[in-house]
């Protein structure tokens, strides 16, 4: 479109993108700054000195509920969800490479899992456990509830890989005498590895931040997002922002490490 473009239009469009990014990150940066509020500071500007006192408060148990406990639970749950999502989505991805009786139904169910409002899934699972006489727990019912959110994303990522996958590579391996297992191990798996890392990242972060599906399924022990939400109603100090800063930095650290791992994989293959 080079010939028709006026320079001011290009600048206007780039400025629009810049403003959008500012809109996206501005609030987060604000609470990042405010979490270093001085001991007498409040929830808004101005900064009343600079301190890390709110971060210290965060780790005192009585101050803000059970932060350490909920963090441990959320972390363990996220690991469980990540492993389950990777295993189940990758195997299902292999199944969907060909049509099989019931594949359309299973695909519809997976998409439904993505579009059914979270609160309905949460309520349904809560009631199901209730009717079955089981206690809802974060490692049982909430684990299942979160899988209904992470698995569709995992499967869609697998679809994206296999759509671009050239069957000739496998045929070549076959012609060279590879067994079916060797074909998967030495041809298919190396190609899908970066996507598997992507699925793991999605599984972990979506589980770690999940709220609505966990709300009615976690039982008596809170996960971190539930704890944070509880805090919004009764905590009126910047300790809330300190918590926001810690969890956001953690997410970014994780995303950064994943991208780094992907880069290393791509580099070493060249």
């Amino acid at each position: 479109m080079r010939g028709a473009r006026l320079p001011w239009r290009r600048w206007a469009l780039l400025a629009f993108l810049g403003l959008f990014i500012l809109f996206l990150y501005g609030p987060t940066i604000t609470i990042l700054v405010l979490s270093f509020q001085g001991p007498d500071g409040g929830l808004t500007f101005p900064m009343n000195g600079v301190s890390v006192v709110w971060f210290e408060r965060l780790f005192e148990k009585q101050a803000v509920g059970d932060f350490a406990g909920s963090l441990t639970r959320s972390f363990s749950l996220a690991i469980m969800v990540t492993l389950a999502t990777v295993l189940i989505a990758v195997t299902a991805g292999f199944a969907f490479r060909r049509r099989f009786p019931g594949s359309d139904l299973l695909f519809t169910l997976t998409v439904a899992s993505l579009v059914i409002p979270s609160i309905l899934v949460s309520l349904g699972i809560g009631l199901l456990f209730n009717q079955a006489g089981l206690d809802p727990t974060w490692y049982g019912s909430a684990f299942g509830a979160q899988l209904t959110w992470t698995l569709p994303f995992g499967l869609l990522i697998m679809f994206a890989v296999f759509n671009r996958f050239n069957p000739a590579w496998e045929e070549a391996a076959n012609d060279l005498g590879a067994s079916p297992w060797q074909r998967v191990r030495h041809v298919v798996l190396p190609i899908v590895t970066p996507s598997v890392i992507g699925i793991a990242l999605f599984g972990f972060t979506l589980s770690y931040d999940e709220f609505a599906r966990t709300l009615l399924t976690a039982g008596s022990d809170n996960t971190l997002p539930l704890e944070i939400f509880g805090m919004t109603t009764n905590v009126t100090t910047p300790v809330l922002y300190a918590l926001g800063t810690v969890t956001t930095l953690f997410s970014f650290l994780l995303i950064g490490l994943t991208l780094l791992a992907l880069r290393v994989i791509v580099r070493t293959r060249r």
Partner: protein, 283 residues
């Protein structure tokens, strides 16, 4: 032939089991319980239609539905415009591949961070003594702080747009990246202006992406309760919030009846979107 199906079935079994137990079965339970009776202390297994009659016969329910649909429509209109604009700049204005990937990541990474924290982060901006009010007062534009910024419909819609625009950007950007650049060159060579290129070449080719983004945004706003509760400060209602309130009052059958109605409405909206635009090409 049969053995090939067997291996596919075996590979699909874990997924089918998880979705069967944690999606299909719970939805069946929702429907069953929606016909149960209840009093102030317990849920009574029965087959009554009172929950549906109460839900559909109440003016409050209808008003809440209208309010939720209003949110959905406004948020959809804003996110589709913003999402299309951002995707357009990313896909066509950023020509360096590395910069393009980086900026795309910048625009989508917040999806992987906490929604609740992202909502909380509006407090110092919109509050009575927040940045926006302070700035407007310093500039002499207002004398008293604007009260409507936080805890209002404005705040709810702002938060939705902030949270959900990236669900529009991703599918529209994907659709745009598949457009053959030659088509655009041809349109320009044929004398098309910028606006015509957008409306007659790019927009039609992005429709499946727009549909996918719309399904995400519509279903998430329709089913939301947490954003409305937090950002309206309890002053506005949505269907999700109504269901969540009934749950906290232990009125499970009433909550289930409303859940079934909401599910029907959401599925009808998705059906309408997919009827207007065929998304299968995109999958």
């Amino acid at each position: 032939m049969m053995s090939r199906h067997w291996s596919a079935w075996l590979q699909a079994t874990p997924l089918a089991c998880v979705l069967g137990v944690f999606l299909l079965l719970p939805m069946v339970v929702l429907v069953v319980v929606s016909f149960y009776d209840y009093d102030s202390v317990q849920v009574i297994p029965a087959f009554v239609l009172t929950n549906y009659q109460e839900a559909l016969g109440s003016a409050v329910t209808w008003r809440i539905y209208v309010n939720t649909l209003r949110y959905t429509l406004i948020v959809w209109a804003i996110t589709v415009t913003l999402g299309f604009g951002v995707a357009y700049v990313l896909a066509f204005e950023i020509r360096n591949r590395t910069a393009q990937t980086m900026l795309f990541l910048v625009c989508t990474v917040p999806f992987l961070t906490s929604n609740i924290i992202r909502m909380i982060s509006w407090i110092p901006f919109l509050g009575r003594e927040g940045l926006l009010n302070t700035a407007l007062q310093r500039a002499g534009l207002i004398d008293v702080p604007l009260e409507f910024l936080l805890f209002s419909d404005f705040a709810v819609i702002l938060a939705y747009v902030h949270l959900y625009t990236l669900f529009m950007i991703t599918p529209i950007f994907n659709a745009m990246m598949r457009i053959d650049r030659g088509l655009i060159e041809a349109a320009i060579d044929g004398g098309a202006r910028f606006r015509q290129v957008i409306s007659q070449v790019i927009l039609p080719l992005c429709k499946p992406g727009i549909a996918i983004g719309s399904i995400f945004v519509v279903t998430m706003v329709m089913g939301d309760f947490i954003t409305v509760r937090f950002m309206s400060g309890g002053q506005s209602a949505s269907v999700g919030l109504m269901i969540s309130n009934q749950i906290s009052l232990l009125q499970y059958p009433a909550a289930c009846a409303n859940a079934v109605i909401l599910l029907a409405v959401v599925l009808m909206m998705i059906a309408a979107i997919t009827r207007i635009i065929d998304i299968r090409k995109e999958l």
